[in-house]
């Protein structure tokens, strides 16, 4: 009996190690539409009463420049524009609480800068009488030590509202040739 347990022990240790060390697996189901995709669509999509896609996409590029983005990539044949912008991400409140509760180390973990990525797609609507515009935002946030703090998709309605307000204005300006 003693002999078997002696043989078993290293075996068990090995199994444990393999389990702990083995490469972490890839989660499944991340390409399945989530239940809130309809709500997101409503947030991200607007329709414009025109079939002039070229006008819309040039207005989009104009708006992105208005908002301080630089254009990264585009393919006008499928109505696509991508742009990005570096911005400040410091929040007075966050730094205050971190300093109060965690001292200097915690402050170093606070948000410092961010890169906002935006991609815009235009396409004809189902009945081909309107043009559909869909915009999505992402951001990557760095902390005071220049490490990536977090990455996220932006779902704040205010952000999308701001974009579409500017776009409506730009389409108007473009129509007036300003």
């Amino acid at each position: 009996m003693g002999k078997t347990s002696k043989f078993l022990k290293p075996f068990l240790v090995i199994l444990l190690c393999l389990g702990v060390i083995g490469c972490a697996s890839i989660p499944t189901g991340f390409l399945k539409p989530s239940e809130d995709s309809l709500a997101k669509r409503q947030l991200q999509i607007r329709q414009y009463d025109t079939t002039d896609e070229e006008k819309i996409i040039t207005s989009v590029a104009g708006v992105l420049q208005d908002l301080g983005f630089t254009l990264d990539a585009s393919e006008t044949q499928v109505g696509f524009v991508a742009a990005s912008k570096k911005a400040d991400a410091t929040s007075g409140g966050q730094i205050f609480w971190a300093a109060l509760l965690g001292g200097q180390n915690a402050v170093a973990q606070c948000d410092k800068s961010q890169v906002i990525k935006v991609s815009v797609i235009t396409k004809p609507s189902q009945d081909e009488k309107k043009t559909v515009v869909r915009v999505t935002f992402q951001r990557v946030i760095w902390n005071m030590m220049n490490q990536i703090n977090r990455v996220e998709t932006i779902n704040e309605p205010a952000m999308y509202q701001k974009f579409y307000d500017s776009l409506s204005k730009a389409i108007f300006l473009e129509a007036q040739k300003i």
């Binding site: 490469c23 189901g29 991340f30 990264d72 499928v78 991508a82 991609s119 797609i121 869909r134 998709t153």
Partner: protein
């Protein structure tokens, strides 16, 4: 004395495991995949009964946007769409290509990466094609 020997052997075995089972990545490994080339193609590819490349690409884009992807690049001639999304701290990047197959069909191929790993799980791709065929109002056909 015997006991020490015993401990030593366990320690050696542990060292061996650590070196052998770690995710080693010499340069050549970067081109390696777990599944065979043929199998991977069949997992990642579907055919659709349409020749409207532009509409297919726009549907691919809107499906990816529905799945939370932000589109990074696209090229009409190549028929490629590349996007990325965040899952916790990992980045999922996916590229989809649309190309003609014969006179009447389009071939759609998707491949995704999760962090530094290639996604080779059939059900994950099936989820994507299921969403795509719903958006396209066409059936995704398995290609041999």
């Amino acid at each position: 004395m015997r006991k020490i020997k015993n401990y030593c052997s366990i320690f050696l075995i542990l060292c061996l495991i650590v070196t052998l089972s770690g995710c080693a990545t010499p340069a050549v490994r970067a081109l390696e995949t777990d599944a065979s080339q043929v199998k991977l193609r069949s997992i990642q590819t579907r055919a659709f009964d349409t020749t409207d490349k532009k509409k297919m690409m726009q549907t691919v884009i809107s499906t990816m946007q529905d799945l939370d992807f932000v589109i990074d690049k696209t090229d009409f001639m190549l028929g490629s769409v590349t996007g990325s999304k965040f899952l916790g701290y990992e980045v999922v990047t996916m590229s989809v290509t649309v190309r003609p197959r014969g006179e009447k069909q389009l071939l759609v191929r998707a491949n995704a990466q999760y962090g530094i790993k290639s996604v080779e799980d059939p059900t994950t791709y099936q989820d994507f094609f299921t969403a795509l065929e719903k958006a396209m109002f066409l059936t995704a056909q398995q290609v041999d």
